[in-house]
Symmetry: C2
Subunit: 313 residues, 2 copies
């Protein structure tokens, strides 16, 4: 059994590789929900949807989110009504949010609904939102007089093109792990920290009380994949966020953050020269190609992670 701590795009691509190497039903993904938002009265779970759509082969790969062959007619209509349109929702995608919102309104919990949605897409990976309690990433923007905004207000509305001076996970201290999450971590043969943003994707997963400790308790069985390659994020603002929040935007900085959680870090060949510096942080470095240009590269990376084995003495 493999358990993967997951954000959005990077995690989703890794999971598509993993299910080529092990049976999907042996995989549990514990997914970030601190990016979730309410928009047009609908509960949107971007990371859960990205993982689901990607595993279903239905993602719009160019755009990186949402469904392929999408249309935008409902958004055009909402624009007519003066509704906010910076968070774009396609017509096909809307079905997911309508169904999720209705089911939550009926009293179903997010894990149940996530399972139903994934099942409809014939996704066999078990997807667990890390918590059923409301946790929301809040981002402080120094250039706007220290205004604190919701994650998507930063990430989408401002295209993550503004400096950040702080990140916190509102509600996380009261959040409880979703039933099954701690067991999935405790019982896994291998735990993978997917190549997601360490601050805003993996951060709010391991910040849920009990989750970080559970992962740390299995440290020798935990393999992280660096989302930073040659000092830059492949996608999104991870590099800038690391620097702005006092970390180092490198595999060494990632190793330092993950050292309490993971005994092993897979770093890209481009960073082979930093393997010793990673080791100096107490984390074994495994060097491999990590850029997942397609399914073959994703599968190769999954194999590397699975074969990383336990670290030596």
């Amino acid at each position: 059994m493999i358990t993967v701590l997951a954000g959005g795009v990077g995690a989703a691509r890794f999971l598509t590789g993993l299910v080529q190497v092990v049976p999907a039903r042996h995989v549990t993904a514990v997914v970030n929900v601190a990016d979730d938002l309410e928009v047009h009265g609908l509960h949107v779970s971007p990371d859960l949807d990205t993982v689901t759509y990607t595993l279903a082969g239905a993602i719009d790969r160019d755009r990186g989110w949402g469904l392929a062959d999408e249309t935008w007619h409902a958004m055009e209509g909402l624009a007519r009504y003066g509704a906010p349109t910076w968070f774009n929702l396609g017509d096909r995608d809307l079905a997911t949010h309508l169904q999720r919102t209705r089911r939550l309104g009926e009293g179903a919990d997010l894990a149940t609904v996530t399972g139903e949605l994934a099942g409809a897409w014939e996704v066999e990976v078990r997807l667990l939102p890390v918590t059923l309690d409301p946790v929301r990433t809040r981002v402080t923007l120094p250039d706007e007089d220290g205004l604190e905004v919701g994650f998507q207000e930063y990430f989408v509305r401002r295209r993550h093109a503004v400096p950040v001076s702080g990140v916190r996970f509102d509600g996380v201290e009261r959040a409880r792990p979703t039933p099954g999450v701690l067991e999935a971590i405790a019982d896994a043969d291998r735990i993978v920290i997917a190549p997601s943003n360490p601050i805003v994707s993996i951060g709010p997963v391991v910040a849920v009380p009990g989750v970080g400790d559970a992962v740390g308790a299995r440290r020798d069985h935990v393999v992280a994949v660096s989302p930073i390659v040659a000092g830059a994020a492949l996608k999104g603002p991870a590099d800038r966020l690391l620097t702005e929040l006092g970390h180092e935007a490198s595999v060494v900085g990632v190793a330092r953050i993950y050292a309490p959680l993971a005994a092993t870090l897979v770093i890209d060949e481009a960073d082979a020269g930093l393997a010793d510096d990673v080791a100096a942080e107490g984390v074994r470095a495994v060097v491999a190609p990590t850029i997942m240009a397609g399914p073959a590269e994703s599968a190769a990376l999954a194999r590397v992670v699975l074969e990383a084995g336990e670290p030596g003495p």
Copy 2:
């Protein structure tokens, strides 16, 4: 000032004629909301939307409901999730229901939201839902052991192709007229009962306590347009409903129902031979073409209604 009691398609077509003849801002439509329903967690107001879309020139005229150039991708997605799909909602149309539902959730009332939506379509006719309180038409189906269903379960899901043994307006006895409705009736120069279904469109409008009495008090100024032509409804099940519920599916039957409310009934030329029978019900018959094949016919009918004048002694 003209006030029109309105259902859906027939009323909407009449209103498009009326606004060619009088300034739209002089017209108030008091619209049925007992056909409203919750579907996919959204508040749908079919008659309000049909009137709005028709006045905006945006209705799908062939289909008779919803917006032109529509796509159905969200519904395809909902079908994937096993959600009920018998009440079809187009992608463009969804924007209306999303916006309405969100605004109602924010505490805005249906009249306010209706005004906002109509304003966005540049509709200048004042649209008033007859009540802000929940009133829902319930239909008894004798062929299903007397099962009582919501109106759209009869009208859409069963394509109104089943017998009906009873109709009631759940909640109507506690409903209050929307602020402005009684004034719009009391102050109007002319009150028009649009060619809508007398039982399930006009019925729940005049059943709201105070509304029927207010219309009856202005009886001499009220002109109804028969939705029955030559014994048949132009659209929908009005003829069958009249018969099944003990009325007569003819202009005479319509006159009998409307006699307490309207001094004048416009009947189609096809029914000219029944003018005396209408008069025998205490209702003056005005004979004119009533079939609104297009804007010109709608305008002509509006002129007939406005020129009908007050009944003689």
